[in-house]
C-alpha cells in the first residue's frame, strides 16, 4: 500500500511554546486513522500544521504528502493538492453566500487539476446531490457561510465541503464535538460514504464515541506532542475503559 502522508520527527511551536515534540506518523492510501489524546496533547495543532496555519512554526522534522514536502507550500496550495481540514470551530463569514464559497473552492481545485471550472448550474446540481447524501436542507446553500448555523449544522457543512472537494486526505478535527447523537450519525454516514481506497482520513477526536460510527484502521494516542501508543480499534476501547492517565502513566513509567 502506498504511503500518502509521512510525518517524521515533527516539532512545532506556537509563540515559542513547543507543542509537537517529535511526532512521527505514516498514513497509507485508503486508511482511516484516529488520533486520540487528552486536551493539550497537540491533536489540533497537528491538524493545523498539516493544513499550514501560519501561527504555528515548524522547528524540525518533515511532512511529506505523496512524497512531496508539504511544509514549503501555502495553505491554499496544500488544499488544491487535495488536503482538507474539517475545522473544529468553523468560522462564520457573514454576507458571503455558502454556495459562493463552495463553488469558488471547487473551482480553485479544478483549475489546479487542469479541469474547466463548473458553472452555477452544474455546481448546484452537484451540491444538491451531495446534500441529499448528508440529509441537508438545500436552503443551506443560500445562507451566509456558517452564519447563525447551529453546532451540528456547522459540522455538517464541513462534511458537505469535503464531499464536494473530494480530497485525497481529509483531517477531521473534533468533528464529533458538540453533536447530539442524530447529528453524529448523519456526519458519520457522510464520512463513511466518502471512504475510498484512494482517500485517507485522519480523525482527531477526544472520545471514542465517534469511532463506533466511523471505524478506524488504526488508533494513535498522543501525549505531550508525541504518539505514545498505536494500535487498532481496540486501543480506543481500552482508552475509554481506563482513561488517558493510563497511557500517560505507562509512558512515564
Amino acid at each position: 500500500m502506498s504511503i500518502m502522508l509521512e510525518i517524521e520527527n515533527l516539532q512545532a511551536s506556537i509563540d515559542d511554546t513547543p507543542i509537537l515534540r517529535g511526532l512521527s506518523l505514516k498514513v497509507g492510501a485508503g486508511e482511516v486513522h484516529a488520533i486520540m489524546g487528552p486536551n493539550g496533547s497537540g491533536k489540533s495543532t497537528l491538524a493545523q500544521v498539516i493544513a499550514g496555519h501560519e501561527d504555528y512554526r515548524v522547528t524540525d522534522g518533515s511532512v511529506l504528502f505523496d512524497g512531496e514536502n508539504l511544509l514549503d507550500l501555502a495553505p491554499e496550495e496544500r488544499a488544491r493538492k487535495g488536503i482538507f481540514l474539517g475545522f473544529q470551530y468553523p468560522v462564520e463569514i457573514p454576507g458571503v453566500n455558502n454556495a459562493y464559497l463552495l463553488k469558488a473552492a471547487v473551482n480553485a481545485r479544478r483549475t489546479y487539476q487542469g479541469q474547466d471550472e463548473i458553472d452555477a448550474f452544474e455546481f448546484l446540481k452537484l451540491a444538491r446531490e451531495k446534500m441529499s447524501l448528508l440529509d441537508m436542507d438545500p436552503g443551506f446553500l443560500n445562507r451566509g457561510v456558517n452564519e447563525g448555523f447551529s453546532g451540528g449544522e456547522k459540522k455538517r457543512n464541513e462534511i458537505l465541503q469535503m464531499a464536494l472537494l473530494e480530497p485525497r486526505l481529509a483531517i477531521l478535527d473534533e468533528t464529533d464535538s458538540g453533536l447530539d447523537i442524530d447529528a453524529l450519525k448523519a456526519v458519520a454516514k457522510g464520512v463513511n460514504a466518502l471512504r475510498d481506497p484512494q482517500r485517507s482520513i485522519v480523525l482527531v477526536t477526544h472520545y471514542q464515541r465517534l469511532l463506533d460510527y466511523i471505524v478506524p484502521d488504526y488508533v494513535h494516542v498522543l501525549s505531550k506532542g508525541r504518539i505514545v501508543r498505536s494500535g487498532d480499534k481496540s486501543l480506543a476501547l481500552e482508552l475509554e475503559a481506563r482513561g488517558y492517565d493510563w497511557v500517560q502513566e505507562a509512558v512515564s513509567a
Binding site: H53, P75, E76, A79, I93, P94, A104
Partner: protein, 482 residues
C-alpha cells in the same frame, strides 16, 4: 537690457494690461482668483448676465467664508490663489501619442477592470482620432433622447440654449451660500452636465452609456443639474470605474437634483480618482456637494455611490423630502486604503408628510486609512409619520486603520419612526485561513468577504456598473492584506 526688463514687466502684468479680454481669447487663465477671473470664465462661456451676477454674488460671499474643518480628515491647506480656474482641454501635442507611452501600471489596472480596448486610450488621455467608432453610437443615442424630448447636454450649452430652465432651477437646491466648496464652485465652475426629463417621460436609456463614451475633460469644478418633471423617470450614472488621468488636485463639484411630483431620479456614482501613492502623496481632494430635492408629492430620489478613489473624500449626497409621501434613499460603499481619508454620508431632511428614507452605508478601511460615516436624519415638525431606517456597517482590514460613525438624529415630530443600526467587523485571520484551506487564495478570500459585505449596495447599481464596481473594489484593496 531695458527691452528685456520691459518684456518681463509685460509678462508679469499681462493679465492686467489688456483687462480680461486677452485672457478670454487665450486657452487658459493664469493661477489666481479675483472678480476678473470670474468675469473671464463667464464671458468665455458666453453666459447671460444673470449667470455672471450669480457667480459674482457667490464669489463675494465666498470671501467671507472659512474652509470647514469639522470633517474627520486632515490635509495641508489649499492655496486657492495657486489654482488655475480655467483651462481649455489639453491639446493633442501634450498627450501621449499611443498606449505605448502610457504608464504600464495604469494599463495593468485597465486590464484587471476589463475595460474595453477602445475605451482605454480615451481614459488614459491618448490623443485619439475624432472619428472613432463611438461617435456614431453617440449620435444614435442623441437621436433617441431628443425623440423623447429629453435634454441632455453640457452645462454651458444649456445656459445658452435653455436659459429659462437653468435660471429657474440652478441654485434652487444648493444655494450659492450653501457651503465653502459649493460657493467656490458656484463662482468658478467651468462645465458639467444638464438633464431635463419632460413630464411623464421615462428616459429611454440609462444616461451612462452615452456619458461614458462622450465624457470630455470636465475639469475640477463640475456642475450638474438634473430636473425630472412631473411623473418622469431617469437613471443617471456618473463617473467611471477606470482611474482617470487628472492633474487637478482639488475637485469641488456640485450636483443638484430636482424631482417634481411623481418623478423619480436614480443617481449612481462610481468614483475612482487617483488616491495618491502609499504615503498619500498626490491624491485628489474630493469636496463634493450633492443634494436632491423631492419637490413634489410622491417624488423619489435615490443615491447610490461606490467611492474608492481620492486621497480625501468629503461628500454627503442628501435628500430634501419636501413633497408628501416622498422617498429618499442613500446606498453607499466607501473604501479607504493606504493613507486615504473618507468622510461621507448623507442628510435626509423630512418635511412632507409620510416621507420615508433609507440609508445603507458600508465603509471599508484598510492600510492606515480613516473612514467616517456622517449622517443626519432630521424630521421637521410638519413631517407627520416620517420614517427612516439607517444601517451603517464598517469593515476593518488590518490593524492600523480606523472606522468612525457620526450619526445625527433630530426629530421634532413625535410620530416619527427612526431606526439606526450599526456594526463594525473585521476580516479575521481565521476567516482568511478558512478560505485558504479550501483552496482560495488570500486575495480572492478578501475580495469575497468584501463583496459579501457590500452586496446590499451593489444590488442597487445598474447591472453593468455592478459588475465593474465589484472588480474595482478588488483592485482598490489589492495588497490590503499580508
Amino acid at each position: 537690457m531695458s527691452s528685456e526688463a520691459n518684456d518681463i514687466d509685460r509678462l508679469v502684468n499681462r493679465r492686467y494690461e489688456h483687462g480680461f479680454v486677452t485672457d478670454i481669447e487665450s486657452e487658459s487663465l493664469p493661477p489666481g482668483l479675483d472678480e476678473g477671473v470670474i468675469r473671464a470664465i463667464s464671458a468665455r462661456k458666453n453666459e447671460p448676465e444673470f449667470m455672471l451676477e450669480w457667480r459674482l454674488k457667490a464669489y463675494r460671499h465666498w470671501l467671507t467664508l472659512n474652509e470647514p474643518n469639522w470633517a474627520h480628515v486632515s490635509y495641508t491647506p489649499i492655496d486657492y490663489q495657486e489654482i488655475s480656474y480655467f483651462s481649455a482641454p489639453k491639446s493633442d501635442a501634450d498627450r501621449p501619442k499611443s498606449l505605448d507611452e502610457v504608464d504600464p501600471k495604469l494599463l495593468e489596472t485597465y486590464d484587471k477592470l476589463g475595460i474595453p480596448l477602445h475605451e482605454r486610450a480615451r481614459l488614459a488621455g491618448v490623443a485619439v482620432d475624432a472619428v472613432f467608432d463611438s461617435v456614431s453610437v453617440a449620435t444614435t443615442f442623441k437621436d433617441k433622447l431628443s425623440e423623447a424630448g429629453v435634454i441632455f447636454c453640457p452645462f454651458s450649452e444649456a445656459v445658452v440654449n435653455h436659459p429659462e430652465l437653468v435660471r429657474k432651477y440652478l441654485g434652487s437646491v444648493v444655494p450659492y451660500r450653501d457651503n465653502f466648496f459649493a460657493t467656490l464652485n458656484t463662482a468658478v465652475f467651468s462645465d458639467g452636465s444638464f438633464v431635463y426629463i419632460p413630464k411623464g417621460v421615462r428616459c429611454p436609456m440609462e444616461l451612462s452609456t452615452y456619458f461614458r463614451i462622450n465624457a470630455a475633460n470636465t475639469g475640477q469644478f463640475e456642475r450638474t443639474l438634473i430636473i425630472a418633471d412631473e411623473g418622469s423617470y431617469v437613471s443617471y450614472l456618473e463617473g467611471c470605474t477606470a482611474p482617470m488621468r487628472d492633474e487637478n488636485q482639488l475637485h469641488a463639484a456640485v450636483v443638484e437634483l430636482v424631482a417634481l411630483k411623481d418623478a423619480e431620479i436614480k443617481y449612481s456614482t462610481v468614483q475612482n480618482w487617483y488616491p495618491g501613492d502609499e504615503e498619500g502623496k498626490g491624491g485628489i481632494f474630493n469636496f463634493v456637494t450633492k443634494r436632491g430635492d423631492c419637490r413634489g408629492d410622491n417624488a423619489k430620489i435615490s443615491w447610490t455611490q461606490v467611492e474608492t478613489g481620492s486621497a480625501i473624500t468629503w461628500k454627503y449626497p442628501s435628500c430634501i423630502l419636501r413633497g408628501d409621501n416622498s422617498v429618499g434613499e442613500f446606498y453607499s460603499v466607501a473604501v479607504a486604503n493606504n493613507m486615504q481619508q473618507a468622510d461621507t454620508g448623507t442628510k435626509m431632511i423630512h418635511i412632507g408628510k409620510n416621507t420615508k428614507s433609507t440609508i445603507v452605508s458600508k465603509g471599508i478601511s484598510a492600510g492606515k486609512a480613516q473612514n467616517a460615516y456622517r449622517g443626519l436624519v432630521r424630521v421637521m415638525p410638519q413631517a407627520a409619520n416620517a420614517r427612516n431606517h439607517t444601517q451603517c456597517d464598517s469593515l476593518l482590514i488590518g490593524k492600523q486603520c480606523g472606522a468612525h460613525t457620526f450619526p445625527y438624529i433630530e426629530t421634532r415630530n413625535s410620530s416619527a419612526q427612526i431606526e439606526h443600526e450599526a456594526t463594525t467587523s473585521k476580516i479575521s485571520a481565521d476567516q482568511l485561513f478558512y478560505c485558504r484551506q479550501r483552496g482560495i487564495s488570500e486575495e480572492d478570500a478578501v475580495n469575497m468577504i468584501v463583496n459579501g459585505f457590500c452586496k446590499e449596495v451593489f444590488k442597487e447599481l445598474p447591472m453593468e456598473f455592478a459588475v465593474e464596481a465589484q472588480a474595482l473594489l478588488n483592485v482598490s484593496l489589492e495588497g490590503a492584506v499580508g
